[in-house]
Symmetry: C2
Subunit: 297 residues, 2 copies
């Protein structure tokens, strides 16, 4: 099995990134990932304001998938996300939805035990997930904090063990990188951090044909979620509704208006995150309303 | 059992509404509700543009609950939501998230069979819910299309059979009205309608002390959702994050900053609806992180 270690990280997704490793389609790959602060915060005395933020949000990679070409999708099966025995949550003035009400930076280091963590005496269930996952973009360079059609800092709770992430390939080989795992996070990630952890993420990476949309998609049990990012929540909602209507129109051979109405009846438009440079909203489409034979593999 | 028939409807929530019926706290009450078009659309030939929209979004009531006073909460247990054998979904130019892309008004009348409906050959699972539920407001008069601290057109999928809705009482007797039921709706209600139905809604209505917040709350199995409405999604998110932080601070005796971080780790901020005069976002708090003894009854 291929393993990529956390010495090999990127802080931006660039069209012309150099791969640090390569695989044949369908191989298992383990990504060793750093936490979002590159391990610079290990105790509650240290805050976000005292570290080198140029080393925040590292993504391990990039990995070249032989044969992947623009127009393909990389299919990344998330097979496992290991948990350490602690994580870090931090706030700072100006950060997150209520940043204006925060006067001083603070850090908490919750202990992880089994499938829960203990935060100041409050027991919180874990939902381990991958925050950053993306490929080389088409033209623009994106900070690893940001998001786009290439993926990036999607911070979507559905990107968890048992899910498959589909990323639209823009450059030969795809050039996959991932990191910024969370032990737990709620929809919104409202204070700007989740329970930030280092982790080993086991994946299987393959090449597939995708549906005619140009955004990352995550497939999970009974739902398919299209993850659209934009500058405002309203814009991200509009993009995600358009994407859902496109998928339904094509997949069920429906006219635009009918697909729009079905989206209103059956698709959940959910907030992924609202605190990074862009915001991410996902259209969560029940698989029961899709023709399973004709969407992805 | 008390029953309020659908001749008694309101189209606005007013501070000085006259009750049409009254009960002792804890009584069962059935509300006969009209669909959101007051039954004016019964076939696919008729559109939203051809009906009297002043008769849209009727709410059955108001019901006086003896002894309810400002500072109390009405607790409305939703015990049943009956389903008819058809519903109506409609779009019109300018309505909903993609209204700019719609040229002509259209109506679909899906057939309801058991727990699914059939929309143009697409089978959709039902999630019956109450769209409008509210009490007399403090000072302002609200159209039944709108939302506020009194409740109103919350269009929140969690307001379903088995849930309890808590509404902050502003006027003596509370003055409860509800209607606008949906056989199915996704988070967002993006085209402006769900599967609109007439229904009999069986409730038990009681008076309780509430937590120190001033928004409607819905309690469902393992989650408590605070429903905040405002002019933009961003504003509604900020209000809902503030509400979650207030509840957590008070309920778990946490400092503001810690409650903010826990909200980021564990609370799901979800879109209820984005198409009515205001938008509604709910803070969905896992009950496991709350001290159950000290929140509501």
């Amino acid at each position: 099995m291929k393993k990529i270690f956390d010495e090999d990280v990127i802080y931006k997704f660039e069209p012309d990134m150099e791969p640090v490793s390569q695989i044949e389609p369908g191989e298992l790959v383990e990504f060793e990932t750093r936490d979002c602060f590159s391990g610079q915060i290990k105790d509650e005395e240290k805050t976000m304001e005292e570290i080198d933020m140029s080393k925040s949000n590292p993504a391990t990679g990039p990995l070249k998938v032989k044969g992947a070409e623009p127009g393909d999708f990389l299919k990344v099966d998330i097979l496992d996300i290991t948990l350490p025995d602690w994580g870090v949550t931090a706030i700072a003035p100006g950060e997150g939805v209520l940043g204006d009400k925060i006067d001083t930076a603070e850090t908490v280091i919750p202990e992880i035990r089994g499938d829960v963590c203990y935060f100041d005496g409050v027991k919180i269930s874990l939902n381990p997930m991958v925050g950053i996952i993306g490929v080389a973009p088409e033209e623009e360079t994106f900070s690893s904090w940001s998001q786009g059609r290439h993926g990036g800092n999607l911070d979507t709770v559905d990107i968890c063990k048992g899910s498959s992430v589909y990323l639209p390939v823009k450059q030969d080989g795809g050039l996959l990188a991932l990191g910024d795992c969370h032990g737990s996070m709620g929809d919104g990630e409202v204070c700007v951090t989740g329970l930030e952890i280092s982790s080993d993420v086991l994946t299987r990476v393959d090449i597939v044909d995708g549906p005619g949309i140009d955004w990352p998609v995550v497939s999970k049990e009974d739902k398919l979620a299209v993850m659209c990012s934009s500058g405002t929540v309203d814009e991200a909602i509009e993009k995600s509704v358009s994407s859902a209507v496109e998928i339904l129109s094509e997949n069920r051979d429906l006219e635009y208006e009918k697909a729009y109405m079905i989206s209103s009846l059956s698709v959940d438009f959910r907030i992924s995150q609202v605190v990074n440079p862009k915001v991410t909203v996902r259209a969560s489409i029940p698989k029961e309303i899709l023709d399973a034979e004709s969407i992805f593999d």
